[in-house]
């Protein structure tokens, strides 16, 4: 019983992490058909933001304030990744819309540059980030079953981000413009929408969410120049499986992969588990090539 509970929670936790790292990509890839191979590096930017804020708090502020660094780090992670995403979109990505192969190559190069930049600024070795003390420990459900607070926090964070995204996309003027552009770019332009601005902001938001993911991941994983490469493949798998164009698809994809991964990993080994999940995804895509939840729209097919 304890085992079932633990593994169920683990599956949910893995799913939430997958969703967080894939959400930004779902927006840039799903809405704009841009293959952003530098997405992992935006996660890295978010992680280093946490490191930076922590360092500032450690060196300039009294000890008692330290635990407050984390919410600030989340905000900075979003802002920094948003800004760099905006820069990238206006300088490079905007010229590559509708050209998946070109955007793949160019963003791959950008990813390498960002990694090397991180190496130059912060050094090649991983850096340590101390998590705030209010996240230490866990919820004891019963003997042998502990739900770590950090993982619970990430679950809550993901839910919050999803809610924010939903409100933005479906309840705000900017979100309505984004949906219009996504469904029919030419017509949206003819109605007075600045597609350039919508594209830039959309890409920047996707990047910003990746930054938040990176900051969240400092709680449980490494922080170094190459952490982006650990997550990029998973992110793409979630988006492709979930179906391009709908956030609910991304959530479903993340849940599916996370649960399956945990199940297979328990039954066999971590490596084999990943392979089996991959095979399942490939098999599923044979049956439903557009993914779990697909949106048929001219801008995506064209």
């Amino acid at each position: 019983m304890a085992l079932w509970l633990t593994q169920l929670f683990n599956g949910l936790s893995v799913s939430s992490i997958l969703l967080l790292i894939a959400l930004g990509l779902a927006i840039t890839f799903g809405l704009m058909r841009v293959i952003n191979m530098a997405h992992g590096e935006f996660i890295m930017i978010g992680a280093y933001s946490a490191y930076l804020v922590q360092k500032i708090f450690q060196s300039s502020l009294p000890q008692g304030w330290f635990d407050a660094y984390y919410p600030l780090a989340l905000l900075l992670a979003f802002a920094l990744a948003f800004a760099i995403g905006l820069l990238l979109e206006t300088a490079l990505i905007r010229f590559l819309y509708g050209r998946p192969l070109d955007s793949l190559l160019a963003t791959w190069g950008v990813g390498l540059v960002l990694q090397q930049l991180a190496r130059t600024i912060f050094g090649a070795p991983n850096v340590g980030v101390t998590s705030p003390s209010w996240l230490d420990g866990g919820l004891r459900i019963m003997t042998g079953v502990v739900f770590p607070y950090k993982r619970l926090f990430i679950l809550a964070l993901v839910a919050l981000v999803l809610l924010a995204m939903y409100l933005y996309i479906y309840r705000s003027d900017a979100g309505r413009r984004m949906r219009a552009v996504m469904q029919n770019r030419d017509m949206a332009a003819c109605l007075g929408i600045s597609t350039r601005r919508v594209d830039a902001v959309t890409f920047a938001i996707g990047s910003g969410i990746a930054g938040v993911a990176g900051c969240a991941l400092t709680l449980i994983g490494p922080i170094g120049p190459t952490i982006g490469t650990n997550y990029i493949v998973d992110a793409f798998m979630v988006v492709v499986l979930g179906g391009v164009g709908k956030l609910i698809g991304t959530a479903a994809g993340a849940l599916g992969i996370g649960m399956l991964n945990t199940l297979f990993e328990w039954g066999s080994t971590a490596s084999l588990g990943k392979v089996l999940v991959f095979l399942c995804i490939v098999a599923f895509l044979q049956w439903k090539p557009m993914g779990l939840f697909a949106v048929r729209s001219r801008s995506l097919d064209g």
Binding site: D173, R176, R177, R179, A180, Q183, N184, D186, M187, A188, A189, C190, L191, G192, I193, S194, T195, V295, S297
Partner: protein
């Protein structure tokens, strides 16, 4: 209002429009006719800015807009109802209409929370459908929605590309009435692409006929009985 001069345009290497010139005066309803494939839709798209011309110019309200993007032209007061309606299928009727506001020149109007009155007063049937998704509407309802959406920002020039094509007769009548009422108000000029001679006779002030990418006949209502007209229009 609208001044097209010696426009050459096409897709890729092919040339569709050859030296087309056309004028629309304020408040006027100008009808563009011709057989299938002569370039009527291409001309409309070039006027809207969806197509970059290879030569010639487009001027709107005295300003040369040949280099301007469709969004910029919409903001300057051109409304567009394309062939095929092109409503946003996943957005509700209300949301479609509010997108129409994006062409408003000032921010306050753009951010208005209510469904634009200018749009709906001509199409009261839409009021019952605000919550329905655009993709769920019938062809005729979508046409009304597309029309209303284009009116939302109060354009000074409306481009209508075959608004009655494939629509049931009762809605065709509605559209005829709407065009007439817009003409009566005199605030909005219309460039209308239409195949039906009978329809254009009932709403138009000035008429152009195109063949093989060029304007071959132009005249007022009185000249419509010219036998050349029928010759150009029959297949």
């Amino acid at each position: 209002m609208l001044s097209v001069r010696r426009l050459d345009a096409g897709y890729g290497e092919s040339v569709v429009l050859r030296g087309v010139s056309l004028d629309v005066e304020p408040g006027q309803v100008v009808c563009l006719m011709g057989r299938n494939g002569v370039g009527k839709t291409t001309l409309i798209r070039a006027v809207m800015g969806l197509l970059r011309p290879k030569g010639g110019s487009v001027a709107f309200k005295g300003e040369d807009v040949t280099r301007r993007s469709p969004g910029q032209r919409a903001r300057r007061g051109i409304g567009y109802v394309p062939q095929g309606r092109e409503i946003f299928p996943q957005l509700t009727v209300r949301e479609n209409l509010r997108i129409g506001l994006e062409a408003c020149a000032d921010r306050k109007s753009r951010a208005a929370k209510d469904v634009p009155a200018a749009a709906v007063e001509k199409f009261p049937a839409l009021q019952a459908m605000y919550g329905r998704r655009g993709g769920d509407l019938s062809g005729g309802q979508q046409q009304q929605l597309a029309f209303a959406r284009a009116l939302a920002a109060g354009p000074e020039l409306l481009l209508l590309d075959e608004p009655t094509e494939g629509i049931q007769p009762s809605i065709v009548e509605d559209i005829r009435d709407v065009i007439r009422s817009i003409r009566a108000e005199g605030k909005t000029a219309i460039l209308l692409v239409e195949q039906s001679l009978e329809f254009v006779r009932s709403v138009g002030d000035r008429f152009y006929i195109m063949e093989k990418g060029a304007v071959v006949w132009t005249g007022g209502k009185e000249e419509l009985d010219d036998p050349a007209v029928t010759r150009y229009l029959t297949v």
